[in-house]
């Protein structure tokens, strides 16, 4: 086996040094009845070229050659080439969690830079070194708010990503955190009157998403005022992190839960992505996950360490702030490189291009016969909800004939919008030609 660095002689000599005659002697503590005496029934050993062929075949069975208008929490942005050049350096790729800081300064300094950028982008004071993803990050943020406030209820906007809400429900049920949903108004934003009526003195937190699942930017300040008036914390979840280049950060929030996939992470059929929690410094002791801090060695040289680990499971066990151990470090590094490449000017320009593309897409789609763009009364980033004369499923089936993957049908999660509503997205990678092709296809009688 080509990954195993031993010759048959090595093995024999090592067994002799150990003082056993056969390798099976080393497995004798496994009761004989449970020892596997046959080959595993799995595919045979493949040569490297065969492995590549096998996966090319898998790849060809996916949507190759289609233009896609899917977003909905996963966004296709350009990934600068140097991201993969750098994260594939073995020193980053094949290193462990930086528990030995003297030989882990590369990862530690990069993660300190990550934390700094996340603070700057979100308007928060501190950020952790990543969570699994945006959905689990949002659930952890709610559990954090419950610990901070000593209250146990969570009010969640219906405009939060439906799959995030499903994950939150899974986490909340056994923490005995009652959750209440608050709807939206005709401009697609959180219904402030309903929110005000729902938040009580027992509410630990209000969770919203901005831009929300419909692409609409929420009035964070107004929502914060309602939450804070009753002593609840405001958690803002951000699923489209590129928006922060041009959208005002949710500085009035107490906790921000960000999904950083948009920062140079491949859509990759759903993961790995990069969640991160940022918050006000006063909530530091309740933060889940790893934190990197700056310090000095005995010569006064600056260095970085994992810090405040008394919050974590390996010290605190069942009293920890979370059971999280492994995080998304390498993906966080990808996002750090992405943010460095675009930087202060580029993040803005990139976000502006997304706005421009979405504006064009809106023009193209709303011009289609019988089309209606919903939620037009509030600003949006790069997604929009569209109603067409036929069901979203029928429209999409027809569009597939033109090698176009249309917007995401919404009826499954938002039956109140009817069967014809779908969620469309354009990013800087969506070309005018692709958008014009949608217009042509929709004009086609079959669509």
């Amino acid at each position: 086996m080509r990954y195993l660095p031993k010759s048959p002689v090595d093995r024999e000599e090592m067994l002799a040094e150990i003082g056993v005659t056969s390798i099976d002697d080393l497995f004798s503590t496994i009761p004989a009845e449970f020892q596997l005496k046959r080959d595993l029934a799995i595919p045979r050993q493949h040569g490297e070229s065969e492995i590549l062929d096998r996966f090319r075949e898998f790849a060809d069975n996916n949507a190759v050659g289609y233009s896609s208008f899917l977003g909905a929490g996963v966004y296709r942005h350009y990934r600068p080439v140097i991201i993969d050049s750098l994260v594939q350096r073995g020193e980053f790729l094949t290193s462990y969690t930086p528990y030995q800081p003297e030989i882990s300064q590369g990862t530690l300094q990069a993660m300190f830079e990550f934390q700094t950028m996340i603070c700057e982008l979100t308007g928060m004071e501190i950020a952790n070194a990543s969570m699994y993803d945006g959905s689990t990050g949002a659930a952890e943020a709610i559990m954090m708010a419950v610990r901070v406030t000593g209250r146990d209820g969570a009010v969640i906007a219906r405009t939060v990503h439906p799959e995030y809400r499903e994950v939150i429900a899974t986490y909340a049920q056994h923490q005995e955190i009652p959750t209440t949903e608050v709807g939206y108004t005709e401009n697609g934003r959180v219904d402030l009157a309903a929110l005000d009526a729902t938040v009580t003195k027992d509410t630990a937190c209000v969770l919203i998403q901005s831009p929300n699942f419909f692409g609409t930017i929420e009035d964070v300040a107004a929502i914060a005022e309602i939450a804070h008036a009753k002593g609840a914390l405001l958690i803002v979840s951000i699923a489209e992190a590129v928006s922060l280049g041009i959208v005002r950060p949710p500085a009035e929030a107490d906790i921000v839960s960000l999904e950083a996939q948009s920062y140079g992470v491949a859509v990759g059929y759903g993961g790995p992505y990069c969640g991160v929690i940022a918050c006000k410094e006063k909530f530091l002791r309740q933060m889940p996950g790893r934190l990197i801090g700056e310090t000095k060695d005995k010569d006064g040289k600056r260095g970085f360490v994992l810090t405040l680990s008394t919050r974590e499971q390996h010290i605190r066990r069942e009293k920890a702030t979370s059971n999280i151990c492994t995080n998304q470090a390498l993906v966080a590094l990808m996002t750090t490189i992405f943010l460095t490449v675009y930087g202060k000017q580029g993040m803005k320009e990139l976000a502006e291009q997304n706005l421009a593309k979405a504006a064009y897409l809106k023009g193209v789609l709303s011009a289609a016969a019988g089309a209606k763009v919903l939620f037009d009364g509030a600003p949006r980033f790069h997604e929009l909800v569209l109603q067409l004369p036929k069901t979203a499923e029928e429209t999409n089936t027809a569009l597939l004939q033109h090698k176009i993957i249309g917007g995401l049908p919404l009826a499954k999660w938002y039956p109140e919008l009817g069967p014809n509503a779908s969620l469309w997205c354009a990013t800087e990678l969506t070309t005018r030609k692709q958008m014009d092709a949608v217009a042509t296809a929709l004009a086609d009688k079959k669509a």
């Binding site: 990954y3 031993k6 390798i23 497995f27 080959d39 595993l40 595919p43 050993q45 590549l52 996966f55 898998f58 790849a59 996916n62 909905a72 993969d84 050049s85 073995g90 020193e91 980053f92 094949t94 462990y96 930086p98 003297e102 030989i103 590369g106 603070c119 700057e120 982008l121 501190i126 993803d133 945006g134 959905s135 499903e166 994950v167 899974t170 959208v247 005002r248 491949a266 859509v267 990759g268 059929y269 759903g270 993961g271 530091l284 990197i292 010569d299 008394t310 499971q313 605190r316 069942e318 059971n323 492994t326 390498l330 490449v341 930087g343 202060k344 580029g346 421009a356 593309k357 597939l400």
Partner: protein, 515 residues
Amino acid sequence: MSVEKFVGTPKKATTHTNQSEDLIFEKSSPGKKAYRLAELDVPAVDAASLLGESARKDLGVMPELSEIEIIRHFTRLSTWNYAIDLGMYPLGSCTMKYNPRVNEAVARLEGIAEAHPYQPESLSQGCLGIMKTLSDALIEITGMDTITLQPAAGAHGEFTGILLIRAYHESKGNPRKKVLIPDSAHGTNPATAAVCGYEVANLKSNAQGMVDLAELEKMVDEDTAALMLTNPSTIGVFESDIKKIADILHAKGALLYMDGANMNALVGKTRPGDFGVDVMHLNLHKTFSTPHGGGGPGSGPVACKKILEPFLPTPVLVTKADGMLGLEYNRPQSVGRVRMFYGNFGMFVRALAYILANGPDGLRQTTEDAVLNANYIRAKLDGTFELPYKTATLHEVVFSDRIQAKNGVKTGDMGKRLIDYGFHAYTVSFPMIVAGAMMIEPTESESREELDLLIDALKQIAREAEENPELVQTAPHSTRIQRLDETTAARKPILRWKAPVAATPLAVDTAAKEW
């Protein structure tokens, strides 16, 4: 004298590993760029008028650099890391094995990396096929009946597994109250039980560091939901009484959860499903070679017996009547979702590539070599270091610092000193049932030559502990930085960079700041 020219700190360092590399923010200069967007092919828009009050005005300290500076910055940082690609990482229970590069190549194939999780199932047969092929292989390897790939890491797998157990008990009318956890367990086990709403009952190990059957029998009652057991245990010992353990639990209606962190000791040699385990997680980033990447991402599939299948997280991968693969969402008894979409898919690709590269014979040889390596180290170092438990071990060995502690040299000191010899430290002070634990897991990826270097280094360190304890106590001596002041780091946390005070206005209330 020309020598004078070089007095003082040179502006340009000569050796990268020792040079200082500023934070990216300190290297930034206004107006530099590392990007060029594609030409905009649609009319530009006025963001301020579109967004109104929601428009952002400033991006603060976000850096501005050119591409070459970014490449150099992160390349220099990378040289300060230790890594599997540089040498052995004897961290116990972490399974730091080689990360094959073909895994990275296939994960980046366009049709795989660019697949959107919401694209139609008919156009996702490749991705679903990868999940199906991996699922089948993992079910066969574990001897279980079914699997979910959704959990994002080991601890997340534990969470999912305990939720399955809870849902199972609830379906019988009572979720039960407590989860038993041996004192040798990883910290994620008790933390997970707590997150799932269970009380943790600590199960004391016996004199061999194994499950004490009498104690277990006493503790298991009608309130016990499950035992979370790591097998082989964190001292590397296979629980020979595993079937009896399972029987004791099952007799009271409790289930057996296995933490699969140490599965690298078992693959191809025995199967948890055969010896009574009801549910377990795997760590693809340990046993199945996906890279640790400085702390993540991981992937923690959960395999289980048929009795737990109705409760699996949604969606569940199914083969439809027409032979196409699909995702089933209508599962009324499901515990719900534990993560959006389908899991850390990129890790599935890598793990499957690893399984294909090995085949059944390769996986078995891998396990045998991992166990051979650990026992070789054990045989060579027994006596130099105290071996607190004499029971035969599989893939890892746990020594203690008792001999060296007499001279004031602790496990942590020797771990640091090992760095001077070109290795990463072993796992220090874990498991907690061994005072001064030195936990070593070489994995199969080490040649005999590399093992001998480690053994020589540890013997030399033991000698130093006798003759010159201070040398060990103050290690490492060869690294770019010395031991860091972790106390101050925790007491006065600095968790982000801030621009020097002179360059920014006085501290502003964040909420009032103009963005």
